[in-house]
């Protein structure tokens, strides 16, 4: 591989790109092996039903079938989940959504596997289902989890600040807005996949496409009744995840399969339809907003009710809701708030983490409500945001003191002088016949990390290797976003080494140390800080050894250079390979942990909300602009230009940052315009990529990303998180642009041609 690696000391080219463009890179789906066993799952296909029996007799008779396993073959708790363990590996009591796993089939080949799955008969006694958010909250609603103390409410939260009722009475203007968002499917290109083998020594090797290797081992061990120490999980390159692989997908099932055919490799790879049916999606939400301001447009009071449909299992649904609740008032000064949120169990598809984690929903409602208010006051959308946007030292809407870097006003100032803003009237006026144009804005903010209760810790290990190179052991997954390249860059900067002298060990629960999940815009921040400390410690050891060999008194005279240590006064150099040989093995290593700081404010005394992540201390900010053109004849909304101005702290690698921003915008534009995952009672109507419309190269504009020069003192080299924030802006920016273009405001996304055309017709266009 090294022959392909262009050695650019400035780290502009990702180390993993050569392997990916040649097909040499291995993903979880790329593991095979002699004597391979294929494992597959019989799914329930029903939304709510009691399991009465499983008949595998016909299926078992097929040639090539090695075994069919049910919950009876599981020795552990048979339950998985992150906060509440409420999801069975294989259903033992009842079915709660069509994707529930009933039986696990092991086969010599995929043909036999497919046939066997078709021959398994599942006996179900149907139960009344719960498919609507509000119906699920009714007194007499059927219960999804009979033993959950709150009925169908997985979690609820309430934030109250100031005197809301009174404040509303004194408002000069008041607007109300209700918005509804559908499921969004992650649609990572690599569907859920993995590989497993029971080794002769009784240990279990797992390879999986996951964001959470260490946590997965805990869950698999508990669910299957295994000793966690016997499980080794390795994470190869990951073909996209976006939150969808934050939590168990294939892991427990694969491990169970491997237990039943020791020594043989087992592979599981969901096809697209299975992935669509089973995997978690962005929570559908219903959002009720009421916002009041004084006559100057200064926000005085906000009331919001947020309903999140979490589907059949917890799967971080409570945490998603909590982040939504925290962000419901956005990055604004808001002295009086009354915010309530519910995460509600239903028999709909599984909801869970998806880039943005509950924020895109609330931001869509809030930022549209703000535009409605601005219109009433005859203020420009920019002006109203400038008047309310937080600055460092403020308390944000929920009362958290903004002590970390806060540069939203700077973002707004950049936008104000940008040609897309200053030239917007001319651009709008030049629309062709039957076209209407509009330019919309939305502010964004995104908290990073886990919040106050769950420790946000990562441990980095770095090693000076025999040839005098540096090996970084990362326990944090890179699902494509490029964090591992940034780790190389950070270590390179500290150790003064070019990319070619650095390598990375991907997450492997035996080789690397726990680094937490690849989520919450935290990867580079938390692991990066740990890595800086570890690299500095190793550097110190190398310089000390150098000083000893040079016979130098003053450590300051010894510096680390690419591949050598050098004694400055004499110009002598010693290769790092020699240093590696001279150092004791334990001194060739440095290990360091870092725990992210937490907010001291407690906007709510509710320990459940704190456990689920409220509040955050560090936020990234930004403002997005979408310039759209609407075709009056077809209803098609096209985004012609897009601008994102972001405050994500110091940008360490501009190209990787841009990749993240552009990718996030693309996902947000899909959410705004085309992506609609449809279900009707028990039926998943969207089963493939022909029905689920992802934006293609033709549907997306060129997107401009402008970072403002900011610096977060607690961050590694000054950075803050940038993984999620870009997805929070496009939907409201497009909605606001659409409203500006033709005065229509739809009550739900995506803004498909049908919906837009209907609204235009109603308007008499």
């Amino acid at each position: 591989m090294t022959t392909f690696s262009p050695d650019l000391a400035n780290f502009s080219v990702r180390f993993d790109a050569p392997g990916k463009v040649t097909g040499a890179e291995k993903y979880a789906a790329d593991y095979y092996g002699p004597d391979l066993v294929w494992a597959g799952v019989k799914r329930a296909g029903a939304a709510h039903a009691r399991l009465k029996g499983i008949d595998c007799r016909e299926a078992e008779k097929l040639p090539g079938i090695l075994g069919i396993l049910s919950h009876k073959d599981i020795r552990g708790t048979n339950r998985q989940g992150i906060i509440r363990r409420d999801q069975p590996v294989l259903v033992d009591d009842k079915v709660r959504y069509p994707g529930d796993a009933i039986a696990l089939v092991l086969a010599e080949n995929r043909e036999a596997l497919g046939r066997a799955l078709g021959l398994i008969r599942v006996h179900l006694e149907p139960l009344p289902g719960v498919f609507d958010l509000e119906a699920a909250l009714a007194e007499d609603a059927p219960l999804i989890h009979e033993h959950h103390p709150e009925g169908n409410v997985l979690l609820k939260g309430h934030l109250l600040r100031g005197e809301v009722r009174e404040a509303f009475q004194h408002c000069a203007v008041l607007v109300e807005f209700v918005f509804q968002t559908p499921y969004q499917e992650h649609a990572y290109l690599e569907t859920e996949a993995g590989w497993a083998r029971m080794e002769p020594d009784g240990s279990l090797t797992l390879v999986a496409s996951t964001q959470t290797p260490f946590r997965d081992c805990f869950e698999v061990a508990e669910a299957l009744g295994l000793d966690r120490e016997t499980i080794r999980l390795k994470v190869p390159a990951c073909g996209g995840a976006f939150g969808g692989k934050d939590g168990i997908t294939v892991q427990s099932l694969l491990a169970l399969a491997a237990l039943y055919c020791p020594g043989r490799p087992v592979k599981m790879w969901w096809d697209r339809e299975e992935s669509f049916t089973v995997s978690c999606k962005r929570h559908p939400a219903r959002l009720y907003y009421r916002l009041g301001a004084d006559s100057e447009g200064r926000f005085q009071a906000l009331e919001a009710r947020l309903h999140y449909d979490t589907g059949p299992y917890d799967h971080l649904g409570g945490a998603v809701m909590t982040l939504g609740l925290e962000h419901a008032g956005g990055p604004y000064r808001l002295p009086n708030i009354d915010l309530k949120a519910w995460a509600v169990y239903t028999n709909n598809p599984l909801s869970g983490p998806f880039r943005g984690f509950g924020v895109p929903q609330v931001n869509a409602a809030l930022e549209q409500t703000i535009d409605l208010l601005a219109r009433k006051l005859n203020l420009s959308p920019l002006e109203i945001r400038k008047r309310n946007a937080v600055v460092a030292g403020d308390q944000n809407a929920i009362g958290v003191h903004l002590t970390a870097s806060t540069h939203l006003q700077e973002c707004l100032a950049v936008l104000e002088t940008h040609p897309l803003w200053t030239g917007k009237e001319a651009w709008k006026a030049s629309a062709g016949p039957f076209k209407r144009r509009g330019v919309g804005l939305a502010c964004v903010m995104h908290g990073q990390g886990y919040g106050p209760v769950v420790p946000d810790v990562a441990t980095a290990k770095i090693e000076l290797t025999g040839p005098g190179c540096f090996r970084i052991y990362s326990g944090v997954v890179d699902m494509g976003q490029g964090n591992s390249h940034t780790y190389l860059q950070i270590a390179g900067e500290i150790l003064n080494q070019p990319q070619s002298r650095l390598e990375i060990v991907r997450p492997d629960t035996r080789e690397t140390l726990p680094g937490g999940s690849a989520s919450a815009s935290r990867t580079t921040y938390t692991f990066g800080r740990a890595l800086i400390e570890a690299a500095q410690e190793l550097k110190q050891k190398i310089r000390e050894k150098g000083a000893e060999l040079f016979g130098a008194w003053d450590l300051e005279e010894v510096i680390l250079m690419p591949s050598v240590v050098s004694h400055v006064p004499t110009g002598w150099k010693i290769p790092l390979s020699r240093i590696a040989g001279e150092l004791a093995p334990e001194d060739c290593l440095a290990i360091h942990s870092f725990q992210a700081p937490i907010a001291l404010d407690r906007p709510s005394p509710d320990p459940a909300l704190q456990l689920h992540g409220l509040p955050h201390l560090i936020f990234s900010y930004g403002v997005h602009l979408a310039a759209v053109e609407v075709d009056e004849l077809t209803g098609l909304v096209e985004v012609k230009k897009y601008l994102a101005v972001s405050d994500c702290g110091r940008i360490i690698n501009p190209r990787i940052f841009e990749q993240q921003i552009q990718g996030g915008i693309a996902q947000g534009l899909g959410y705004a315009l085309t992506e609609e995952f449809r279900v009707e009672q028990e039926k998943v109507l969207t089963r493939d990529l022909a029905a689920y419309i992802l934006p293609t190269a033709l549907d997306l504009p060129d997107m401009e990303s402008v970072p403002v020069a900011s610096f977060e003192p607690s961050g590694p080299l000054g950075l803050k998180g940038g993984g999620e924030i870009a997805v929070d802006g496009p939907l409201p920016a497009v909605a606001n642009a659409l409203a500006e273009a033709c005065g229509i405001r739809l009550s739900q996304n995506p803004f498909t041609p049908e919906r837009v055309l209907r609204a235009l017709r109603e308007q008499g266009v």
Partner: protein, 164 residues
């Protein structure tokens, strides 16, 4: 039904006996270990499994192995000579067009086919030419940049459209 099959794969003559009904993507991945041919939809919608057959892009998830008889196939593994990247690969690396990389082999082979049909596409034509390949990570901008890069400075002496 078993058939005897002979074709060229990345320049090498291949003869084998296999089930005629198998999909080409499975043959490549399982029998040859050429896992660079990715599967992401299995139904012709994403382009991740793109290969070149006689220099033209084809979806390996929709082809049956019998369709390869007597033809030449190029997969991503056969694109570079093992020492230097193909100019399209190089451009993807340099432009930052690669994130998770799962779509990348298909997009690169799709680009090569696009450039065969239209050696000097403009930005719109590039977008159109690649609209059959999905990518969930990049938003395509840097992919379009990469193709533009190849078009504006074609590497000397390299064959932009290898047949395999």
């Amino acid at each position: 039904m078993k058939i005897r099959l002979s074709f060229r794969l990345n320049g090498n003559p291949i003869e084998l006996e296999t089930d005629a009904e198998r999909r080409v993507v499975d043959l490549l991945r399982e029998d040859f270990g050429f896992t660079g041919t990715k599967e992401a939809c299995g139904s012709g919608e994403c382009g991740a499994c793109t290969i070149l057959v006689e220099g033209e892009s084809r979806l390996a998830c929709l082809m049956r192995v019998g369709q390869l008889e007597g033809r030449s196939v190029l997969t991503i593994e056969g694109l570079s000579d093992g020492k230097h990247l193909h100019p399209v690969q190089q451009a993807f690396v340099e432009a930052g067009a690669v994130q998770c990389g799962f779509c990348t082999p298909g997009l690169i082979l799709g680009t090569i086919d696009l450039l065969r049909r239209n050696p000097r596409p403009d930005r719109e034509e590039i977008r159109e030419g690649l609209s059959g390949n999905l990518c969930r990570c990049t938003g395509f901008q840097k992919i379009v940049d990469a193709v533009e890069k190849v078009v504006s400075s074609p590497a000397e002496g390299s064959d932009p459209c290898p047949v395999g």
